[in-house]
Structures are given as C-alpha cells and as structure tokens.
C-alpha cells in the first residue's frame, strides 16, 4: 500500500506552499506522486526518486581534474583543515537548507572566524539594505488574501517565478473581506516588458528599463499633490496620475516587488523609494509592501544570522570578538572579485550559476568545498563536493516564507542509505575543527 503524506511544505521557492500531498511507496523510499504543487515544486520531489545519477558520497578533485569518491570522514577532515588554515574563508549559500543546520554552521563559522553570506547577496540583499534605511510597512500574505483590494506587482513576474502566489495569496483567493476574489481587486503591473503576470492586470504600466526610481518618485510627487513632467521614464503623466488615484482609493493595498527593482540601476534605492511610496499611501489608506523572496529559505538564513549576530547577510565573523557588516565590502561577490578571501565553502546554493565570472574564477582558484545534494555548476569547480540529504524532502527542518512566517518542513522519504544531513555533517566538522584549533 502506498501512503500519502499531507500538509507537506514545498522546499522550492519563497512562497512555501504547505498543502502538498505526496504519495510515497509502501517501503517509504520512493516518491510516486506529488499533488497540489506547481510544476517546479513537483519536480523537486519527483526527481529524487527518479535515479538522476544522484551522488551519495563525497568526491575530491584530482590533479587531472577528475573526481574520486572519498569517505565522509575524509571530506570532513579536508573541510576542517581548510577552515583552520585559511586567514579568511567565505562561507556562502544557506538558502536551501534548514534553520537548524544554519545554527550549527554558524557555530563552526564563528569558531573559524569566517565570512557568512547567503543568496540575498545576489538577490534581495538590496531590499534588506533599503529596509535598513527606511523600514518597511508590511504584512503576512493572509492579510493580502483577506483584505487587499489593490495589488501592485512591480518588477516581478510571479506567473513564472512564484507560480502559486497569485492563486494562494494575491490575485484570485477569496478571503474574509474579499469575498469577490479577483473581481474585487484592482491589479496593477509595472514592468519594462509585458509579462504573463501582466495578463492578469487591470492596468499595465510599461516603463523604460532602469527608470523605476524616477517613476516611483513621480508617483510620490503626484500623491503629494505636485506636478510632474509630461513623461517620466516612458510613462505619460496621465497614466501616473490615474494609477495613484487607483491606489489611494483602495481600502487595503499591497506592492509586491522582485528582481526588476532589486537588480536594476540603483538597486536598494528603487526599493527604498517604493517603501516610501507605501509609507506615503498610509496617509490615505492602508498599504503594505512585500518582497518576492526567491529561494525557499533564504529568508530563514537572514533570520538566524540576525538573532545570532544582528545582521541578515554579509556577516564578517573574522574579528571573532564581534561581527561586522557592510555589503560592498563583506559581500560575497566583492570578496571574491577583490581576491579578499583565501578559501570558500558553498552550501545549499550555487556560486557557479549565479556569480559574475570574475568572482567565480577566484573561487575556482582557492581551496573550496561545496556542500549540496546535487551536482551543480559549483560542485564542478570545487576541490571537494560533499553531497547531503535533501532538506524538506528527506530531512525535516524549519524554513521561513517570504513574509517571514516560519514553517516546519516535513520529511517525506528517507535519504539514500548512509547519507549525512547538513546538520550532522556540520556538527562533525565542528567537533574536528575544535580538535584542530583548540581554544584559540
């Protein structure tokens, strides 16, 4: 008899859908079916059992460039020795592992005095910087579902990146005060191209690429009753005035934003001014703003780092008496690009796939370890690849949704025999590191 595990939390994106039903074979080893997930989420479950050449033991790169299988103990020894020797190790990633594993990892990082950074550094880090500058009036996604009658998507495309966002939270659901669902909401999409999300919009505002800051300034200026130039960033004045009126007339509005703001010209300033627009709109009605966080637990990494060290990413633990923080200096891409680090660990993320080539090149030239369940672009340029069990599928653990709501992710199947979890592996590295480094 197969069994069905219900209320499974999807470990793919920051939407963290928690209504998945996974059918598992009677021996508890194979995933047979996945219901309620989007296509991307379903794949994360289904591929584990599909025999996609899963690596189950650590591998070490040989002088000829090939990889040779090694034991976990050898991999742990390599990692601990590397940490003990390096003057400044970059430890990047964390977005696809559990908060429990992060807590153990930080213990190791603090002992070794490394840099600790997560995927926000190439994703919503600019949103974090903006929030540090001006704060953020926000809400949980259920507030949007139950109250929102004005929804703005600015520089994001949930139809592709967060496929169930629109049906669970933002456009279609009927809530307590929103019994008409989609019909009761005015949807505005602002983007430099016509996206699939824009197809659901009542109003699509196409702006010139990288003119978000100016257009948002125009929104604010209009909201305060001042005049603006006839065209701003490719958008006619009338269109801006009409949009501002629509927003002001709502009872509860929300702005969702994504990479279109975080990684275009000005970065954090785009979000900063979007937040200030949200703040201004609270003088007329109720408004919130929510970042469309990508990786499922990148938010959790920020949370754990913050309660332990007070900073959400780009944390510098090298002084060992106190943590420091200054994106631009302590951020992964800058550390690699400036050749400021002499060793690197990539965990639960992929430097090779996401970093600029000059940064990736330096990573390939220094001693490096990649801890990841799968083969990816980073494992192929690392000295040692340590595969681990898949969190949210083979291991339970805590993750934080894009609105910072924590979810206890479930274990659905066993990992392949003999595989360590992130938490177990890092605990072993810690024990070995303490032996090597003593009390220093």
């Amino acid at each position: 008899m197969t069994k069905v595990v219900t209320d499974v939390v999807c470990p793919f994106c920051g939407t963290l859908c928690d209504d998945l039903a996974i059918t598992v074979s009677d021996d508890g080893k194979q995933i047979i079916d996945c219901q309620n997930a989007c296509a991307i989420g379903a794949e994360k479950f289904l591929h584990t059992s599909a025999g996609h050449g899963r690596i189950t033991r650590p591998r070490k790169r040989q002088p000829d460039g090939s990889y040779k299988e090694i034991t976990y103990d050898e991999a742990i020894e390599y990692t601990a020795q590397m940490l003990a020797k390096a003057k400044k190790t970059l430890w990047y990633g964390w977005a696809s592992t559990s908060c429990e594993a992060m807590a153990v990892g930080h213990k190791v990082a603090e002992k070794a005095g490394t840099m600790v950074d997560n995927c926000a550094t190439v994703c919503h880090g600019s949103s974090l910087l903006a929030i540090q500058d001006v704060g953020v009036p926000s809400c949980t996604l259920g507030e949007v579902k139950n109250r929102a009658d004005r929804v703005v998507f600015w520089g994001c495309n949930p139809a592709h990146a967060h496929p169930r966002h629109m049906s669970r939270y933002s456009i279609f659901p009927r809530g307590f005060f929103t019994t008409k669902g989609h019909k009761g909401r005015k949807i505005i999409v602002v983007d430099c191209r016509y996206t699939d999300t824009a197809k659901c919009a009542d109003e699509f505002i196409q702006i010139d690429q990288s003119y978000d800051y100016e257009v948002l300034d125009a929104f604010r200026t209009v909201a305060r009753g001042h005049d603006i130039p006839d065209v701003v960033g490719g958008v006619p004045k009338e269109k801006i005035i009409k949009a501002v009126e629509t927003l002001k007339e709502g009872r509860f509005g929300v702005i969702f934003f994504g990479m279109g703001l975080t990684h275009t010209l000005g970065r954090n300033h785009n979000i900063d001014i979007a937040i200030n627009l949200t703040r201004d709109l609270n003088d007329f009605t109720k408004f919130s703003i929510v970042a469309m966080r990508g990786h499922w637990n990148v938010t959790g990494s920020g949370q754990v780092l913050s309660w332990q060290y007070g900073f959400p990413y780009c944390v510098d633990l090298t002084r060992r008496t106190h943590a420091r923080y200054q994106p631009g200096d302590t951020s992964s891409v800058d550390l690699l690009r400036r050749k400021e680090v002499d060793a690197c660990i990539c965990i639960a993320s992929d430097i090779g796939a996401h970093f600029p080539i000059e940064a990736t090149r330096h990573m390939a030239q220094i001693p490096s370890v990649c801890i990841d369940p799968h083969i990816n672009l980073t494992t192929e340029i690392s000295d040692v690849h340590i595969p681990v069990a898949l969190v949210g599928v083979e291991v339970a653990g805590c993750a934080y949704r894009m609105d910072n709501v924590p979810m206890a992710c479930r274990k659905v199947v066993d990992p392949p025999e003999g595989m360590l979890t992130d938490e177990e592996l890092l605990e072993k590295v810690y024990v070995r590191l303490c032996e090597i480094m003593g009390d220093s």
Binding site: D133, A218, G266, T318
Partner: protein, 267 residues
Amino acid sequence: MKTVTITMKNVPDLYLEGDMITPDQFAGKTNEEIAALRTYEGRETYCLGDNFEISGDAVGATPAETKIIVKGDCTKVKYIGMNMTAGEVVVEGSCDMYTGGWMKGGKLHVKGNVDSFSGLGMEGGEFTVDGNAGNFIGASYRGDWRGMQGGVLRVKGNVGSDIGTFMNGGTLIVEGNADVHIGTHAEGGTIIIKGNANRRIGGQMVKGTIYVYGDITYMMPGFQYTKDVELEVDGDKAVFAEYIGDLGERHSKSKGQVVYGKIYRKK
C-alpha cells in the same frame, strides 16, 4: 609638529585593516611602540611593523602635533585615518576602503585614489583625495540616518555612486564626474559636482544643497525649476538655475515657509 613615516615593505596577501594609522593612535608612542600596534588581516592579527617600516622623528605628544606620512603600495590597506580627531595624515599613493571613515578633525590627504566608504559618517576635518574615489563617499553607515555631518571632503577626480547619502552637514566637493544617486535622503550639507552628474540627483532629499556645473543626464521628476540666481560656489562665480525638491518627500516648515532641498545647475 613631528613627522613619522611608515613605508609598506610587505604587501599583505589579502587586505590589511589599518584603523590604527591615525595621529590619535600614534601620538605619544615611540617608533617601536608604533610598530607593535595591532593590525588585522582576515582573522589573523599582526603588528604594524610586520608590514610597515617605521621611520622619522618620534611622534608628537598629542594627536594635533603628529603628522603621519604613508608610503609604498597601500592599495590593500583599509581604514587609514578612521576616527582621527586631529593632526595630519598624508598618503603618498592610493589606499583602500573606509579611508577617513568617521573622521572628526585634522587633515587627511591621499595623493592617489581611495575606494568605497571613504569619509563615511565624517564629522569634521579636511579630507582631500587627489585621484578618484569609489562609491558611498561621505555617506552614512548602513541603516544610519546620520551620514556626513561636517568637515570638507574634496575629491579631485571622479567618484562612484551613492555619494552623500543621508548627508546632514559639511561640504563634499567632486571636481570630476559623479555616478548615480547623489545626496539621496540628504537632510543638510552641501555637495558640489564640478563635472557631469549622472541620474538620480537629490532623490528623497529633505534639505541641503547640490551644485552641478556639468551635465545632468536625467532630472528627478520631483524637482521643479524656480528661478535663475547668481552665486559664488567654491570660489567660482556663475549663474545657476535653481530647482526645489524632492517634492515627493516630506519637508518641514521654518517661519511659515516650507524648506526644500535645492539643486543648482550651472547655466
């Protein structure tokens, strides 16, 4: 004033944190004591003497009587002149980030270039860079609403983006060109750009003054032209077009009049 010269002899593998290279830290110390000052490279600690040759007079008894000349390749040294309150530091070449960060007084002169975060949260003194500077010059530390508060920071070359963010006072002069985001969130102080300025000047500005001599690629929609005025700026007399803003931002009133941020564009 007494002068001590430190010369880079061993360039660090990574980057050296040289926040002790200030008259405040050197004053009253012998050359041996200066050589023993603690530096950091990554998580390791070293002595200043491991990387620098120390020579010259024994330094002055107080910071104000102390002059430091920094020679050799210091492109991998951060924090020179950080927190200095008096005296003088001259860097013969270029140095890295945070040069003159939180500087409170004295004179700091870098003959080459400096990197980002130099003059961060500067409160007083004179800081001159002969070459170019990076991003966030005279800006605030992350999250702080108290950016540059006083003093004069002059860059003779070009600067990067985000200069004068959350500036509340002092004068920031760029003789070359400046990239995007100039004086964002400023609530006081003066920024003078003698070359061209890229976009996003005075965004979310509450108060303060920005002068631009050259081109402005794209004016913020929240700024409105008011009138032409003749002004003397940093010794130059010229006619400027005055703009007030950022009209999208909050503004306080003084004696019944709304106080705006101002951009003056040289005609």
